[in-house]
Symmetry: C2
Subunit: 341 residues, 2 copies
Amino acid sequence: MSSPEFDLIARHFAPPGAAGRGDVVLGIGDDAALLRPPSGMELVATLDTLVAGVHFPLDTDAESIGHKALAVNLSDLAAMGAEPAWALLALTLPEADERWLADFAHGFFALARGYGVALVGGDTTRGPLSVSVQVQGFVPPGAAFRRDGARPGDLIYVTGTLGDAGLALRLREASAIGAPGARAFLRLRLDRPQPRVQEALRLRGLARSAIDVSDGLLADLGHILRASGVGATLELARLPLSPAFRACLAAVEAGGHPALRSFRPGLAWADLALASGDDYELCFTVDPAHRPRLEALAADGLPCTCIGTVDAEAGLRCRLADGTPYLPSRRGYDHFAGEGS
Amino acid sequence: MSSPEFDLIARHFAPPGAAGRGDVVLGIGDDAALLRPPSGMELVATLDTLVAGVHFPLDTDAESIGHKALAVNLSDLAAMGAEPAWALLALTLPEADERWLADFAHGFFALARGYGVALVGGDTTRGPLSVSVQVQGFVPPGAAFRRDGARPGDLIYVTGTLGDAGLALRLREASAIGAPGARAFLRLRLDRPQPRVQEALRLRGLARSAIDVSDGLLADLGHILRASGVGATLELARLPLSPAFRACLAAVEAGGHPALRSFRPGLAWADLALASGDDYELCFTVDPAHRPRLEALAADGLPCTCIGTVDAEAGLRCRLADGTPYLPSRRGYDHFAGEGS
């Protein structure tokens, strides 16, 4: 499970000690990694593949691809409330391009260092561009956030803002729309998502269920609701939107840009925030008794917003500010059905 | 980290309990799997991607692809002396083809059940066909076979036979050559490699270093030699060849088939056994004092053959039966350089 290109990545960008962890007995360079899990902890393991043109636009720079491939996996760990530890990387490339590899590695390892993650093994292969990353972390027994933990009456929260990455995706071929700074912000949200790892650790003992928003809020919250056997009501006026999102969307709507033609006039913000993916924020539910603790965390720098409540009645209902029911036109992203199934 | 297609795989082919392991706290269906490693054991982790047309011929049936994607990873665990436990699967497919998925799952789970491996999570994605599998297993501290453990004087062994898969790959478009039974055997060796997991567990305490033969004996043994700072001498007459290999090769050489044109006349067997990959046998070294124990294991059904010795002098030397030095013309497989670099 090693190759010359992989050795290049490992040698130049992960010198021993850079992400040195005492629990790595044997890292890159053998048939498999040897790891020493902390005693008494549960292991949290996830594997995700990013495919060029599916999970990132074809014009995405290598550094962003390296970042994002690790970020989406760390986001899965965050959605479980886990502390990340180790990563494996399988990189499939059309050709061995040293410059591309260097940039990719730079993006990957900058993020890995930031979260104390050690790359312990992997492989490079020739083929159409895709990246598989497997990450593992730890959680105390019983402390993991599960999808099946939501209860009627729970408050529904999301971290950060929604819809930024989805808008960036739609604007990437409309260079004239919106202020450059706002556009750059949105594009960073698409290309360099920041996994909510620290936020998740602060939510231990509070979040009763959680998921990360990768396919869109409706789709992902829907997983929690189904797994928990409950429903929910969302207050659309409370959906957290970034200033850049608002500014660019206003510019788009003023110009009637075709990128948003499929959305309802005046309500593109709702459709984008509800159904576009790639934001990698956390959606989680908490016992209403914990509202003061959530507000204290929010005041202490954990960006989170209450957007609705869990109901006993199945189904997901959305309400506009005036109480009018809102029927979302799009559900989320399905890789096989194409967007907006 | 779940999708409708993945749910299909999981639902139809891995019913709860089929590979039920008490150490899986939470399997398929959440953001990540929750696992409980056995206390006091080291964790062995590996990730490999198979790409269509690179790691398996494009005409390979889905069941074989499912088998092989897991087998090559279990082979990495075997090369560490580990007992397999858990797998994650990331499947990238051009389209959602239920029949293909069913066959793939059949191949994957038949092998998983055979080794007590639980599939605990994964993902399906739209894109060019490739399969990433991550597996984990356990080994007692200090018991793992490492590449850097070979010492001068060690005996070099391989399990099973060499060159079968390489010959199958070259014969796949020459349907008239060799007896059908022999050809079918070779093709099974290519499509359905059997990871040497049980053999590896029986070698614990004996093998001082090990690797699996995925890229060819010379290339893979070369990794052991470099990591251990030693060299080796191989006795080519001792290379274990299957009856099917000998029979088909004789038929090819009698017919002058172009599939083997690049090999030396009369020595194609050596070049194939030394440099073709995909056999997934184990190559390992043992202290010569353990020869009687190895012979006892061989007599007790562990197929292994002593093929040479480790030398203090760097480099890999090959000798024919009459003692003549043999300079291999091919080193092994490099995915980026193409075959035979």
